[in-house]
């Protein structure tokens, strides 16, 4: 009846997961209870859960990403402390448990932390910058989000029911085959990643279509902000490589469920083929994460330097160059396989060549600041911290791209330090910068600057204190994923690294305080004009928080830096552009099909993990019914009356008029 599921799946004899899960379950029940008592369910259902608004979906992606980031950070704290105490001793984490933690840390941070954060940004920002009212397929977008959330839920269920994968963030065969991993851990990984992978692919298709087909009048390709270009490149990569992931994991699933031999040692299987295929996805995947991050920095450097971006066209070219070349480097993850010189040389050179595209970008950002009037707001601090961090991460990357050097550092702590250096320094810093930068557009008030700066400095210093020791340990020969350590000489560096983690924790606390303080002081931090940073692209041409229809009238773009042009004209002529002709707008209706599909996907995934076949069939059937009902829907749009558009737009114009009035009286520059 319940397949492999019985009471032994609950970890009654392991205190750490048991206590964590009990606290988590109590916390979730508490939140649900609060929502019920306060009668928020109706609001949540109408305004968020069934919303097809790209901004709401973007915010929900960010929320999911932040929650999972905290979960992954908790895993990181356990790993660092375990290694610091487990020198000539067993430490406090059992080997089985420790292996689950590092596997969960990697899986969560990349697939359920960084991916939702980056996709959330693309969702929120790109349509606003393109001057359109929504993405190409709004309901599809909602389905994509809820499928991603479904995958994240499955990973977290594994904490309480059964176990998670113990084989690393990529389930390397043959270790992940049933011979060596008979439990449900790898199955949790497979189904969680498959379901959320579908969600990611949906987003990729959606964003490619949006950028290619849904730009406002006059927004030609070479007038798009760089963030839109990076969104396009990143989404193209998603469409190109996520099917490889799906196919590879499907083959591993066949191996595990039906006794196939794609990646086994015997019967003609090839474990190296798994490494080959998974990295053919895995390497482009990190560019999927980092390209939108480059887009964020491009926007921020230009805004806070008060200058157009230096070398816009070379930036676009570098983005597309990285997009293509990133698919030709994957072998550098297994230089030590034993390939001949020709293969290793080719992939070594192609990996190094990526640094050319990235270098172009770095110089462009530096030259954007050069001669500009730089404002050291919090987003700018994160961006400058990024340049420093990312250059060092990039240089160690070029070192690792040299095959003979890689043979010495392969799977060492040096590698661990390198990829944290580029992913934390690149992607995570970008996400924090972007949250500071676009928060007013989402919620109508800025985040508190002082706490934001404190958070930056603690995170920046904490990062370096954590990872510099890991570089040194790697060069001293320490390999990754050690549950306990027999070399006394590594003790000081491991303990120093824990100090860094402590500083990082202070940074995280600062960010939480920043959010609370900002909400309390929201009236003081209110963004009245819709343009808090003196921005240059179209998202600042609409009020904050952005109305659900984005723009009362579609903007008409007449050059690069669309909004900067409009603003300069208004300042030059001392008046706003004449009021346009308002027409009613059609917007897509909300739809519960996203959460409905995701609910039954979760049920199906859980059933497949535990071999509950009838429930899997039932879940699939129910999800299909949802699709059929949705396909037969007759009314899918509603009309926003002109009065509503005029009300929102007049409010913005009044604020802008007051702003012009202040300039006229010479009371001060734009804030």
């Amino acid at each position: 009846m319940f397949g492999k599921l019985d009471w032994s799946a609950i970890p009654f004899n392991q205190p750490i997961p048991l206590i964590t899960s009990v606290i988590l379950i109590l916390g979730i029940l508490g939140v649900l209870g609060l929502i019920t008592v306060k009668k928020w369910w109706g609001y949540l259902w109408r305004e968020w859960i069934t919303s097809v608004d790209h901004k709401r979906i973007g915010v929900m992606y960010m929320l999911l990403g932040v929650v999972m980031l905290i979960r992954g950070f908790a895993d990181a704290i356990m790993m660092r402390t375990q290694q610091a105490v487990a020198i000539h001793s067993a430490g406090y984490l059992e080997p089985e448990h420790y292996n689950q933690i590092f596997s969960a840390h990697g899986t969560i941070m990349i697939l359920f932390g960084a991916m939702p954060l980056v996709i959330g940004l693309m969702n929120f920002v790109a349509p606003l910058q393109l001057g359109v009212r929504d993405v190409a397929f709004p309901t599809f977008n909602s389905v994509g989000f809820w499928l991603t959330a479904s995958g994240a839920l499955l990973v977290n269920i594994s904490l309480f029911v059964g176990e998670f994968s113990r084989v690393g963030w990529l389930p390397y065969a043959p270790l992940s085959e049933t011979t060596y991993s008979p439990g449900v851990g790898v199955d949790y990984y497979l189904w969680a990643v498959q379901i959320s992978g579908v969600g990611t692919l949906i987003t990729g298709i959606n964003m490619v279509t949006t950028v290619l087909k849904m730009r406002c009048p006059g927004m030609t390709y070479l007038r798009m902000p760089v963030f839109c270009w990076t969104t396009l490149a990143s989404s193209l990569l998603i469409v190109a490589v996520f099917p490889i992931l799906t196919a590879t994991l499907a083959m591993l699933t066949l191996d595990r469920y039906f006794g196939f031999h794609f990646f086994t040692n015997d019967a003609g299987g090839s474990p190296m083929m798994f490494m080959n295929l998974i990295w053919a996805w895995g390497h482009p995947e990190v560019y999927i994460l980092v390209l939108p991050a480059f887009g964020v920095f491009s926007e921020i450097f230009s805004t806070f330097s008060g200058k157009p971006l230096f070398g816009y066209r070379s930036m676009v070219a570098a983005t597309l160059f990285i997009c293509v070349v990133s698919m030709m480097v994957w072998l550098h993850h297994f230089f030590t396989m034993g390939a001949g010189a020709a293969v290793n040389t080719f992939f070594g050179i192609s990996s190094s060549v990526i640094a050319v595209g990235t270098g172009v970008k770095i110089y462009n950002w530096i030259f954007t600041m050069y001669g500009g009037r730089v404002r050291f707001e919090t987003p700018m601090l994160w961006s400058m911290g990024f340049i420093f961090t990312f250059i060092i991460g990039g240089l160690t990357g070029v070192l690792l791209a040299v095959p003979p050097a890689d043979f010495l550092t392969h799977n060492s702590m040096f590698l661990v330090a390198h990829f944290h250096n580029v992913i934390v320094g690149g992607v995570v810093f970008a996400v924090f910068a972007a949250v500071e930068y676009w928060f007013p557009k989402a919620f109508g008030f800025r985040l508190h600057a002082g706490w934001g700066k404190a958070a930056f400095w603690f995170a920046f210093i904490g990062f370096w204190v954590t990872f510099t020791p890991l570089y040194i340990l790697g060069l001293q020969g320490m390999t990754r994923r050690l549950q306990h350590i027999d070399v006394e000489a590594w003790r000081p560096m491991l303990q120093l690294s824990v100090v860094g983690v402590a500083i990082l924790i202070v940074g995280v606390i600062c960010q939480v305080i920043q959010l609370v303080v900002s909400i309390l002081q929201r009236d003081k931090l209110r963004d009245e004009t819709g343009d808090p940073w003196d921005g240059r692209s179209l998202e600042w041409a609409t009020p904050s928080p952005a109305p659900f229809f984005n723009f009362a009238v579609m903007p008409n773009v007449e050059g690069e830096e669309a909004y900067w042009g409009i603003k300069q004209r208004a300042i030059d002529t001392q008046q706003l552009a004449p009021e346009p002709d308002y027409r009613p707008v059609e917007m897509p209706l909300n739809s519960p099909v996203g959460i409905y599909t995701a609910f039954f996907s979760t049920v199906t995934g859980f059933a497949l993990i535990w071999h509950i076949w009838w429930l899997a069939g039932l879940g699939l059937f129910a999800a299909f019914i949802g699709f059929v009902v949705f396909a037969w829907r007759d009314v899918h749009e509603f009309e926003v009356p002109v009065e509503e558009l005029i009300r929102v737009e007049r409010g913005r114009r009044a604020a802008r008029d007051a702003f012009l009035e202040r300039i006229r009286q010479g009371e001060g520059a734009p804030s």
Binding site: F137, M214, V241, G338, A342
Partner: protein, 135 residues
């Protein structure tokens, strides 16, 4: 998703018309019937040719795989032109670019994988030498 296509046209008013897959120019029904029948004819002929090449002895035996590859590529062309309606017209730029990108990705993955797997153990130490070192 017909409502979305109208949306795309309304908003994507840049440059000339650009067709999405499945978004066909207006032609008479007869045109499409003829088009699909012609496509079917070519596809069937090419399929029969492949079987014929493999079973008859008209082609020099070592050249049979080459012939089948040629027929397969022609088959792909027929499908692209008659069923997926890829043309060289300016309204088809996006479709052609998407196809080119897809072909590039598949090419990189397949040739890369074959090359890498061919090199699987070029520099692997022979087992007996490894045993020597362990001793």
């Amino acid at each position: 998703m017909s409502e979305l296509e109208t949306d795309l046209h309304r908003h994507g008013g840049i440059g000339h018309e650009d067709h999405a897959p499945g978004d066909e120019p207006h032609e008479s029904v007869g045109h499409w019937v003829r088009n699909y029948l012609l496509g079917l004819f070519f596809a069937v002929v090419l399929t029969i040719c492949s079987f014929w090449a493999a079973t008859s002895h008209m082609i020099w035996a070592p050249a049979v795989p080459v012939a089948i590859v040629v027929f397969a590529i022609a088959q792909m062309g027929v499908h692209l032109v008659f069923f997926l309606h890829i043309t060289t017209g300016p309204d088809n730029t996006n479709n052609v670019l998407a196809l080119a990108f897809g072909v590039l990705v598949v090419f990189l993955l397949v040739t890369g994988s074959v090359w890498i797997m061919y090199h699987l153990n070029h520099n692997m130490m022979p087992t007996d030498e490894m045993m020597q070192m362990q001793r």
